[in-house]
């Protein structure tokens, strides 16, 4: 990859990766930042190491003397963005707890049913619940 196209790609990934307010970005956007920043280093130092289960992190750590600073920064940023989305999705039911009791009490628990109810009750539920739903990428 030429230097200028790499610069464009990195800039593009940073532009995509800057969310409005507390909104988290999706998994595809978060992980592609990692792929762009670390693709070359992964091929060089972590060939045969697969995505998932912290394997890449462990390998990049082991090779940190040689891994590029661009990859180190890109990896840290990608992990931060992934964790933001994971956390945002996990806290929705907690933040919406009282709204769920009020408006979705009769709904059978199970993935999606309660969230579906909360989405339909957008005009009734609290602002913080609606914000949590938006931040999690559910709207």
């Amino acid at each position: 990859m030429t230097r200028s196209s790499l610069a464009i790609a990195l800039t593009a990934s940073f532009i995509i990766a800057t969310p409005a307010s507390s909104q988290s970005i999706g998994y595809a956007d978060a992980i592609s930042g990692l792929a762009v920043a670390c693709g070359a280093d992964i091929q060089k130092f972590c060939k045969g190491v697969n995505l998932g289960n912290d394997r890449l992190r462990n390998c990049l750590n082991q090779n940190q003397a040689n891994v590029s600073s661009q990859c180190k920064a890109g990896y840290a940023r990608a992990m931060d963005l992934l964790q933001k989305r994971i956390n945002a999705q996990r806290t929705v039911t907690k933040i919406c707890d009282s709204d769920i009791r009020r408006f979705c009490g009769g709904v059978q628990p199970g993935d999606g049913n309660i969230l579906g109810c909360v989405l339909l009750a957008q005009k009734q539920v609290s602002p913080q619940c609606n914000q949590a739903v938006t931040d999690a990428g559910y709207r």
Partner: protein, 192 residues
Amino acid sequence: MYFRYLLGIFAFSALLLVSGAEAQSKLDSGDIVESLQKLETVPTGVTAALLRKQASDSIRARPGPALNRPPLSDELNSLAQFTVEINFDFASAVIRPDSYRTVGRIADALHHPQLLGYRFLIIGHTDAKGGREANLKLSQLRADAILEALTTSFNVPARRLSAVGLGEEQLRDPAHPEAATNRRVQLVNIGN
């Protein structure tokens, strides 16, 4: 740009709700919302274990060449699904970095509110180059790798997913068994 991204996820997710042949035409923005509302009852009965057995039986029962080999399962083609291309290292189940984004797109679709209640099969397919048994094993390892990435990097609960390799037993283009189009990963909605 964000709206177009969301629309892309909607389109992706829509394919997992609308069965079979209809799915390809549901990418217009006007139809997307309609197809998401038109939730159809998804037939079950298809499981990873069942498909695995069918595939190994198929290798024994249909020992002929790959050219024009009929698909292992017609039912698979009738279920709500989508197909993606994921690049792996040669003869390996290691996902190449240039395909991380595609795995992330699968995760985004699986986290979409409309799909949260469903379970999915991850199905790995190869072309017909190389040994038939080897292709079956490799495609299973590849499907396993994608499942592991989805459940450990992208917060998809493991109970929603299972992985199966069908090797070259369900060729996408049986008239051209060695063509790249046969190398693919299929995500199939198997109900709730």
